[in-house]
């Protein structure tokens, strides 16, 4: 019976079992192990429907290598549906845009721009629109302090903290047309 000699296997699991004691399996078998061994398991929550399945996000070498159900959860007890099992592809996916893009008026193509440039330009457009369209009072003199020429849409797939800053900042600017997928 061969001892494990593969220098790659530095995991404590192997160190415990190698050394003094002979193993009743071959080195090849011993070398087989789960891809998540040695990974850091991070607490995740499924981003699809509202059931709220808990997930483990496995990270190794600075990369997400797998996402699975969290068996501790009283809701999903480790299980995930087909969409939940696909959560990995929302993070690791060749179609994901990683570049900021800009489409100029009447243009027929996207251009690559820097995130910094886009943030500055967006802020300028917000200020321009706000300055022109802000109304302080209605015709009867009631307070409005709003602009109806800028709108926001989206939130039901975002975190609570993100929704909070959206509502706070956009209300702070005077925007009122703030909406998302939820209807209550």
């Amino acid at each position: 019976m061969a001892r494990i000699s593969n220098a790659k296997l530095r995991h404590p699991f192997f160190q415990l079992r190698s050394g003094q004691q002979e193993q009743p399996v071959s080195g090849v078998t011993m070398a087989k192990h789960s891809r998540i061994r040695g990974a850091v398991a991070v607490d995740g929550v499924c981003p699809y429907c509202a059931v709220g399945c808990a997930q483990h996000i496995y990270v190794k070498g600075g990369q997400v290598i797998d996402i699975e159900g969290d068996s501790r959860s009283p809701i999903n007890e480790g299980t995930l549906c087909p969409k939940g099992s696909n959560t990995f592809q929302l993070t690791v996916n060749p179609h994901r845009q990683q570049q900021t893009l800009y489409r100029a008026p009447y243009s027929d193509h996207w251009e690559r721009v820097s995130l910094e440039w886009a943030m500055e330009r967006i802020a300028q457009r917000v200020v321009e629109t706000r300055e022109v369209t802000f109304r302080e009072r209605d015709d009867e003199g009631n307070i409005l302090n709003h602009t109806t020429a800028m709108a926001h849409l989206g939130g039901a797939t975002l975190d609570n903290e993100e929704n909070y800053l959206i509502k706070k900042l956009f209300n702070g600017l005077g925007m009122v047309a703030i909406e998302n997928q939820a209807r209550i």
């Binding site: 087989k32 699809y48 068996s71 009283p74 570049q99 489409r103 302090n145 706070k168 997928q181 209550i184």
Partner: protein, 892 residues
């Protein structure tokens, strides 16, 4: 549900479904749309429960049920109203529960005229505006002025408490516990539903009388001290112009059967997005502030904080705390700049003066009334009703910011799409900012049972991808800097916003690496502000009971107070290991945190009888502990913990003191569940049947065919088929598939899911297919007055014709997930749907419209992908992993 019980949220927790003796699933395909939640229905069935599925479409939910009943889409009020009729007719309502806990015995004032007596319109309707009178004077309790609900009433608030004679001056509503008074609610109800007989149900819904009666009998048999029944619904109920009223009918039925606040009972709303509950609690909605506080409204003359509080604060019930909640919110937003002298910055909160809901905003966009739009994780170019009209609106914008993972329809609408756009004619300036995924950011999601669960950032997002938190915080910092020197009054609100969310230390990821993202805010700081703190020493508060109206507390969303109750303790992140996991019938109070105050089942005071004893040993949940003088049990009591069952409010009591010890629905002014809703609802105090805006028949009950308060967006792109139009004879409904999500933005760029569900189809019954000469697999065209799509025909016996009013009507099913970008593409159901809206929540009617189906293809094929199918998500080998453990195709 807010109008019936007091809060607009699922009343229980999913795991509790296993305690039910009868689960009625209606307006939901739970097995396919929420498969993991459906485990608890199956557990109930294993324990002997009856599981009933009532739905136009036979699905895996139907196959897993003990009983299945097909109905025509949009006729749910008739079906449920028919059950209410049976409950009242057969005297099967749970008397010991209904009399004290609901407003069954309350007398309605004699100005009230029921829709049954006025051909489908309740008293107080103004045909000019198409709305009911704002003050609802016609729907009130005798002996009081507006009782009603604050919070979540939606839009312009219907109540003006400053005119109220209730509470402050005493005046309890008149009741007749003998139920002899002709205008007591139970008698009003009896008359209202008298015509909902089994034969009327069968003729309208298309099921048989026997099928209907079997369901009614099952619900009535699983009621009372020993047994309970639960209701599960989803978008199949909400996406109608009578959606809120369908849900209300179910809620009323659950009150009559005594199923609320009890194990195995309740109304379980199965929501569709990971944080859709959260995004109404902390609303990215136009008419609400966080925690269901109404957005100030210039039409209600909310010109000062005092005026707002006077008009929006009811004298009795929990909402009497409104001043504490508003002032604490303003302190959270404006910090030290919010002082008593300046009304805590109340003036800086923008007022609404119109309908700024999504549908109306997009209709205005098409008329050049909106310049700029932020789209963050939503895809209206495919996912919104009448998506063509939505794209038309977006092409009229001056600027647009899109934040998403992929170049989906709402990013590509200026050069792609079924309407062949010409970029040279579209002047919209578009910014696409790639978003971070859930694994790349920290924060909380609120699931369908009001539970906040924290997810931890695992890795940095790649390239320019950033969280929406990053985007909002940095946009805010930029705007604050641009206005920094402004002394203009209108800019002071923005400049005063508390905005200190940066990380105190260098951000370290769970694997010990340092984050390389510059300026990522600390989501924990945001959640701590949402929870709330004392303003003097910045100490976390442990619950909303600690909030004050003098500016000494701040809380960004009062109902979330308690999620971060002390420094260093984030309860939403708590995930203890427990041996109680498998088949545990009790709530797991230690797993994450649910609002309000970690209560898992709301209104659970009702799980005990009026004296505070469990209704039965079998259904024991919460009870009054006489020795300790407090409520105790398996959950956190949803009641003042030390209020004895025998407590009776003294005359002229205010706030929670006015709530008796045997009234579990204390968010309402009278503490009761509302069978009759005197306010809080815009289209009638009782649900009554109206046909969908497009339907194959007239209203069998009234001359008034559709909901008189529903709105149709007027546009040449939004034509509506007249009733029973021969050109559009087929009823269409839409549904979700297990393997795709919404309009596909999070699934059609994903090869694993596309492999499972690769193409668009429409589901057609065998009879209709034969009539039109359609074979399984053929290409067909589906046409409505708005548009036309192509799809493969899936001919099945799962949808079949129903006999409605003496003639046969066909129904087809259209999945909602396909559109024109991604690895797989196809016809989008929303090209077909009309832009019409329900009055209370402005929901569209995606679940019922009229169409025609015939063989054929479009000139421009709709199945052309915009990106190449990726066979593998990643080519590079997994780090620190031997070859033998690499996924297929990845070796070092």
């Amino acid at each position: 549900m807010s109008a019936t019980f007091g809060r607009g949220a699922a009343t229980s927790y999913q795991e509790d479904l296993q305690n039910s003796d009868c689960v009625l699933i209606m307006g939901s395909n739970m097995a396919e749309a929420h498969p993991v939640g459906f485990r608890f229905v199956m557990k109930a069935r294993e324990k002997g429960a009856q599981v009933i599925h009532v739905d136009p479409h036979f699905s895996r939910t139907s196959a897993s049920a003990t009983d299945y009943v097909p109905i025509r889409t949009g006729t749910d009020i008739v079906f449920l109203g028919g059950i209410i009729h049976q409950i009242l007719e057969q005297e099967r309502w749970f008397k010991e529960y209904v009399l004290p806990y609901t407003n069954a015995a309350t007398i309605i004032n004699d100005k009230y005229v029921d829709a049954e007596n006025a051909d489908g319109i309740f008293s107080g309707f103004d045909p000019e505006t198409g709305e009911y009178e704002i003050d609802r004077a016609n729907w009130q309790y005798a002996g009081t002025q507006p009782p009603a609900a604050a919070g979540a009433s939606g839009g312009q608030t219907t109540e003006d408490w400053s005119k109220s004679s209730a509470g402050h001056e005493g005046g309890k509503p008149e009741v007749d516990l003998t139920l002899q008074h002709p205008n007591c609610v139970l008698n009003v109800l009896k008359r209202h539903y008298a015509r909902y007989t089994p034969s009327m149900v069968a003729a309208t819904c298309g099921c048989s009388q026997e099928q209907f009666m079997a369901v009614a009998e099952a619900m009535m048999a699983n009621s009372g001290r020993e047994r309970t029944g639960a209701i599960v619904y989803a978008l199949g109920w909400t996406q109608h112009t009578i959606g809120v009223q369908i849900i209300r009918t179910a809620a009323m039925m659950q009150l009559l059967l005594g199923n609320m606040g009890r194990p195995g009972g309740g109304v379980m709303a199965m929501r569709g997005h990971a944080s859709i509950q959260g995004s109404t609690d902390i609303p990215t909605l136009y008419d609400l502030l966080p925690g269901y506080i109404p957005q100030p409204d210039s039409r209600s003359k909310h010109n000062s904080l005092g005026e707002f509080i006077r008009k929006e604060t009811p004298p009795t019930g929990y909402w009497a705390n409104m001043p504490k909640l508003v002032v604490s919110l303003l302190k959270a937003w404006f910090g030290d700049a919010a002082t008593q002298e300046n009304d805590y910055g109340f003036e800086w909160v923008p007022r609404i003066d119109d309908d700024y809901s999504q549908l109306n905003t997009f209709a205005k966009m098409a008329k050049d009334e909106v310049d700029g739009l932020f789209l963050m994780g939503q895809n209206p170019a495919a996912g919104a009703p009448n998506s063509r009209l939505n794209r038309e609106g977006m092409r009229h914008l001056k600027w647009l910011v899109v934040r998403d993972f992929f170049l989906l329809e709402s990013a590509e609408f200026w050069r792609e799409g079924p309407d062949n756009p010409n970029p040279a004619e579209i002047g919209t300036e578009i910014f696409f900012l790639p978003a971070a995924s859930g694994a790349e950011k920290s924060g909380t999601l609120t699931n369908t049972q009001r539970m906040l669960q924290w997810h931890e950032k695992a890795v940095d997002p790649p390239g320019d991808c950033r969280s929406d938190l990053w985007f909002m915080w940095n946009l805010g910092r930029r705007l604050k800097a641009m206005y920094a020197n402004s002394t203009n009054k209108r800019d002071q609100g923005l400049l005063s916003l508390t905005w200190d969310y940066g990380h105190d230390d260098i951000e370290v990821l769970p694997d010990g690496r340092r984050s390389s993202v510059v300026d990522e805010p600390d989501a924990g700081k945001v959640l701590r502000e949402i929870n709330g703190y004392t303003t003097a020493d910045k100490k976390q508060i442990s619950g909303f009971g600690e909030l004050k109206e003098d500016g000494t507390t701040a809380s960004g969303c009062w109902i979330y107070a308690g999620v971060w109750p002390e420094e260093g303790r984030n309860r939403s992140a708590e995930r203890p290991v427990s041996d109680q996991v498998a088949a545990n019938p009790r709530p797991r109070l230690d797993w994450a945190w649910a609002w309000p105050a970690n209560r898992r089942m709301m209104y659970n005071r009702a799980s005990a009888d009026p004296e505070g004893k469990p209704w039965s040993e079998r259904k024991r949940y919460m009870w009054w502990d006489e020795a300790q003088q407090k409520w105790t049990g398996y959950d956190v009591p949803d009641f003042p913990p030390d209020k004895a069952p025998s407590y009776r409010a003294p005359e002229k009591a205010e706030g929670m003191d006015a709530i008796d010890g045997d009234t579990p629905f204390f968010m309402h002014t009278d503490g009761k569940g509302w069978l009759f809703a005197p306010s809080g609802i815009k289209d009638g105090p009782l649900p009554t049947h109206y046909e969908p805006i497009e339907s194959p028949t007239l209203n069998p009950l009234y001359g008034q065919r559709a909901n008189p308060t529903a709105k149709i967006v007027e546009s040449p792109l939004n034509l509506i088929a007249p009733p029973a139009d021969v050109e559009y004879p087929v009823v269409a409904t839409t549904y979700r598939l297990t393997e795709h999500y919404l309009s596909g933005g999070m699934s059609r760029f994903d090869s694993w899911l596309n492999e499972l569900q690769p193409a668009m189809f429409v589901e057609i019954g065998i009879e209709l297919a034969q009539e039109r000469g359609i074979e399984h697999g053929d290409w067909v065209l589906v046409r409505t007055p708005r548009s036309e799509i192509e799809a493969r025909a899936m001919v099945t016996p799962r949808l079949h014709r129903l006999k409605i009013g003496g003639r046969f009507v066909h129904q087809i099913g259209v999945p909602i997930h396909f559109s024109f970008t991604g690895e797989v593409t196809g016809g989008q159901a929303n090209e077909l749907t009309p832009m019409v809206s329900e009055p209370n929540v402005k929901m569209h009617e995606g679940k019922s419209f009229m169409c025609d189906v015939r063989k054929g293809r479009l000139e421009r094929a709709s199945d052309k992908p915009t990106v190449q199918w990726a066979k593998r998500p990643q080519e590079t080998p997994m780090a620190e992993t031997p070859d033998q453990a690499q996924p297929e195709g990845r070796s070092a």
